[in-house]
Symmetry: C2
Subunit: 351 residues, 2 copies
Amino acid sequence: AATFRASEHQHIRYNPLQDEWVLVSAHRMKRPWQGQVEPQLLKTVPRHDPLNPLCPGATRANGEVNPHYDGTFLFDNDFPALQPDAPDPGPSDHPLFRAEAARGVCKVMCFHPWSDVTLPLMSVPEIRAVIDAWASVTEELGAQYPWVQIFENKGAMMGCSNPHPHCQVWASSFLPDIAQREERSQQTYHSQHGKPLLLEYGHQELLRKERLVLTSEHWIVLVPFWAVWPFQTLLLPRRHVRRLPELNPAERDDLASIMKKLLTKYDNLFETSFPYSMGWHGAPTGLKTGATCDHWQLHAHYYPPLLRSATVRKFMVGYEMLAQAQRDLTPEQAAERLRALPEVHYCLAQK
Amino acid sequence: AATFRASEHQHIRYNPLQDEWVLVSAHRMKRPWQGQVEPQLLKTVPRHDPLNPLCPGATRANGEVNPHYDGTFLFDNDFPALQPDAPDPGPSDHPLFRAEAARGVCKVMCFHPWSDVTLPLMSVPEIRAVIDAWASVTEELGAQYPWVQIFENKGAMMGCSNPHPHCQVWASSFLPDIAQREERSQQTYHSQHGKPLLLEYGHQELLRKERLVLTSEHWIVLVPFWAVWPFQTLLLPRRHVRRLPELNPAERDDLASIMKKLLTKYDNLFETSFPYSMGWHGAPTGLKTGATCDHWQLHAHYYPPLLRSATVRKFMVGYEMLAQAQRDLTPEQAAERLRALPEVHYCLAQK
Ligand SMILES: O=P(O)(O)O[C@H]1O[C@H](CO)[C@@H](O)[C@H](O)[C@H]1O
Ligand SMILES: O=P(O)(O)O[C@H]1O[C@H](CO)[C@@H](O)[C@H](O)[C@H]1O
């Protein structure tokens, strides 16, 4: 029998954080592609567009006028999926028909007054300001809500409807599905092994090295062993940190710098403004803020869809929607490619 | 306090089949859309293209020549994600690094010799031939493998790389993730309530009526209470049937006819060839074929991405990838719209 080699032999891997399996079939990279190619929308974005509701001084859908902000700017989403007051659907009359109340708020956070920049093109102090704003909004909304989800959809391919650099913050009265799974897995691991799952995982990856992308004094970026998206990464603090507001100034500065490096590598991979969805997961808040959440380790997930070029993406469709996630290159191969890329942005490099 | 109305008040709903929650925020349909619009690729597909590897008589990537088939045609995928022989990754050295062997086969099934038709434009006897082929391939591959996943990715938006009407069949040596969840949920429900979850669910929906799309002598199509995709549907037999091969001739004819009606309604919704991923789930096969699988009810899931028009889709991104699925119209509203649509295809209707 042949010796197993992950880059040649299909296999399945387990995601202990979200309790899921992925099928890894690296040999599939050889197949030709005749499918959908995304239109390259390299239309230049104007730095300021008075009609763009995210710009300083612009009027939003609800008639409010944005201030002439010069750093980050946080405001209420004009079309929120979660509102603070919605009546309770009441008790269910059958176990197969269960609905529950959902309350919350949705906010939008602009990263910068200019529409023509993205995080990797911003300076480290400017990114640090975004991190501080993330920590504050977690604290503010976390006082009331058990879950504050910060996420960024970047690029039209990721359903982002506005090129202005921004993220969203949705706080909810319930623990969302994926938060529940991470809660359960980390809780179980902690009670069985006496240490936080992701802290141990980070240590192991530092020893094994093959999936590391970047390391700094306080942070690690790696392609997780169980990654689903081709160039998915996980960003972890080295220290045991449960929530964003706990990060100290040195850790925040260092985070700004490692984020800039990671996002620069992403853009350099296919020489395009790399689309992705990213988001932060930390221990639940609200009434749980005081509770022991020692099983939790703060982390950010980056889920970028591109597979082969700026226009050819991975589709999570048929088999993935109906059976199991499947990937076409190994996490180790993805990490190696990301590691090899320069830390200077291709738009700024002298040709 | 206001009275709860699902079409106005956000709430969360539970999917007892896959053990997941969805956030329903119907009021979001009011928001304007400035985001990505899909290019309308209404380029006419030639009926026969000798260079298309799915056409009768064409040469495939591996050098094989397709027969001049005139019904359905099943062959091995030239770029399979699963191959019959892959070595075992061996035991794990750490609980956070778990990999297991994966073996299987991937096949492609053409539905029709012509590239310019789709299922709703095929005749009922032609669709019946597809159903028979699905039953046979389940039986054939199910003799060896515990899971045979039949799925169709339709449309470029769903990563389909070839317009010729076809589906795929991936059989695996393992129960894929979603199969495992459905196995667990149906098993638990059966042991607690003494009846199959989906049989009871179908009965309930026939009584409640508000989510029904189509009913026939042997089948039901409905928008599930917990639907995630805007116009997602679930296709269920009325009788307790565990796997496709068990369907009798009358049930197969009736299935062909209800599938044609459903897919015609889908195409009529936005007057476009409606993209989707669909697939069949039945009781596990292989060594389990003989075992009691009375908790299982055969069903097909349809997951179409379109939300507002032929070019504006729902994106399952940021919040959905990081927290929880979210939908923008209620399942009841979706069912009502689908019910109201004609059963004659817009391409065939006399104007
Ligand atoms: O039909 P293809 O070209 O094999 O590939 C398509 O379906 C597969 C199974 O759902 C997915 O893994 C691919 O991402 C998708 O592009
Ligand atoms: O940024 P928007 O326009 O609110 O919307 C985008 O992000 C939301 C949260 O991930 C998704 O539900 C939408 O499908 C997506 O288009």
